[in-house]
Every structure is written in C-alpha cells, then in structure tokens.
C-alpha cells in the first residue's frame, strides 16, 4: 500500500463534498456534504498516522476528536435548520436572504 492512494481518495471525497456544499439547495444536504469533507480529512489523518508510525497515534486520536466534533456540529446544525424551518416554513438555503446587504 502507498500513502498517496489514501490521500487521493481523501482529496476526491473532499472535492465532492465541496461540490455538494456549493450546489445543494436543501440545508440538510449541505450538512451531509460537510460530513463528506470531514470523512475525507479523517482518511488523510489516519493514513498519514499509519505511514509515519507515530508512537503517540496523534492522527488517529485527532480523527476521533473530529468525529466527536462532527457529531456535535450536526446536532446543532439540525437544531438551527429546525428553527429556521419553523420561522420561514422552508429549509432551502437560497431563500434565506434576510442578511443580504
């Protein structure tokens, strides 16, 4: 196994997530695309951790922290989307123009 094969899959996942964040209308799907980007980061961290044979396993432990933070982020994100839906009867990100100058 080479380190670059995992890094390339991570890059492809991150690019797909970026595409989803920009193109998706529904706020829940934007969050799902952010999850793809976080998974890409985790693949990179674990692959380079194994490649560097770090005695502290920093990459794996960092990816565990990222997983915990992603779970918190999704919980808060869904709560915010729920509140926006209650106030505006829509969860489409392009209908939220109240803050546009």
């Amino acid at each position: 196994m080479t380190v670059v094969q995992f890094a390339l899959v991570g890059t492809a996942l991150f690019s797909l997530g970026l595409y989803g964040v920009i193109t998706r209308k529904n706020a829940v799907l934007v969050l799902a695309s952010v999850e793809l980007m976080l998974a890409a980061v985790n693949i990179n961290l674990v692959a380079f951790d194994v490649y560097l044979q770090d005695p502290l396993y920093s990459g794996q432990i960092f990816s565990l922290f990222i997983i915990a933070l992603a779970a918190a982020e999704v919980g808060i994100g869904i709560a915010i989307i729920l509140m926006i839906y209650r106030n505006r009867q829509s969860a489409d990100v392009d209908e939220l123009k109240a803050m546009r100058g």
Binding site: Y19, T23, R24, L29, L64, A68, I78, I80, A91
Partner: protein, 179 residues
Amino acid sequence: MTVSIADWFKETANWVFILLAIPTLLGAWRTVTSNNIVRSVLYLVVSLGGAAAMFLSLGAAFVGWTVVLVYIGAVIILFLIGIMITRAPLGMKAELSHASNVRMPAALLSLSMFVLVAWGLIDAFSNTAIEPFEPTPTSDIANLIFSRFVVPFEVVSIVLLAALIGGIALARRDDGGGA
C-alpha cells in the same frame, strides 16, 4: 521505499483498497447529485461505510468502529429526522440542487481543486510505500487519550455538553413571552 505500478497491482491489500474506494467515491458522488433526498442521505451511509472499512484495512480498528457507531448509527438518523421534520421535498424529481449556472462553476472549482491537490500529493509522495505495520492496539489509544491527550479530551466533553444544551435551547418551542 517506493513501489512500481506493476508491484502495486500484485499486492492483495491494494485490490481490497480498490474494492473499498469505488463504493466510497460512487456513494459520495450520488450523495451530492441524487434527486431523492432520502436516497442522498442513504448513499452517505455507503460512502462513510467505505471510509470505515478503509480505516479497518489500515489497522485503525477503533477509529473504524467509532465511525460506524457515531456516523452511521447516530448522525444518519439525525439527518433522516431533520429531513422528516422540515418536510423536505420527497420524491424522485425534487429540485434539490441549484440550476446549471451554479453547478458548472462549482464543478469547475471542485475539479480544479482536486487536480491541484492531487498533483501536489503525487509530486510529494508518489509511490511512497507504507511500511508493514501492526494493527493499532485499542488499549494504546485509550492510554494515550487519558494521559497525553487528556486536556483536549476534557475540552471535547465540554463542547459536547454545550452542544447538548445549545441544541435543546435552539429547538425548544417558545410559547410566547420569556426567552
């Protein structure tokens, strides 16, 4: 240590990697392009499952199973609840993505980012083999989290508590009066 392309295809672990990478990337592709919102979230399961299996193939069993438990077990359920509560447009022909005047620049942007980063990675790490490794013992990860990384661990627990309280405060229905 470097490996040639021919040697790369001789290694069984790399065929396993290809078998994992294809569903991971196809699932991600369908997640961002599917016209059915429930299917889109379920394709995310495929993609994250592929990522978890990749962690297992790298010997990082604890991270892999944490992804299965936290992402596939909890986060996907949160997404499905979010879809149902916000009455997202269900059905096969729902307009979930922006029109092509947004999609084209977005595709160009993400494709150029992929090409740029992939070029840099191949330039820096081309054919750099991962030395033979032992699977990471989970007890080592546990010992490190509670010794070297105990302060970040406690900070993460406070963040989770704050997120819990914040989630309740945000989603609570205010019956007029009082904030």
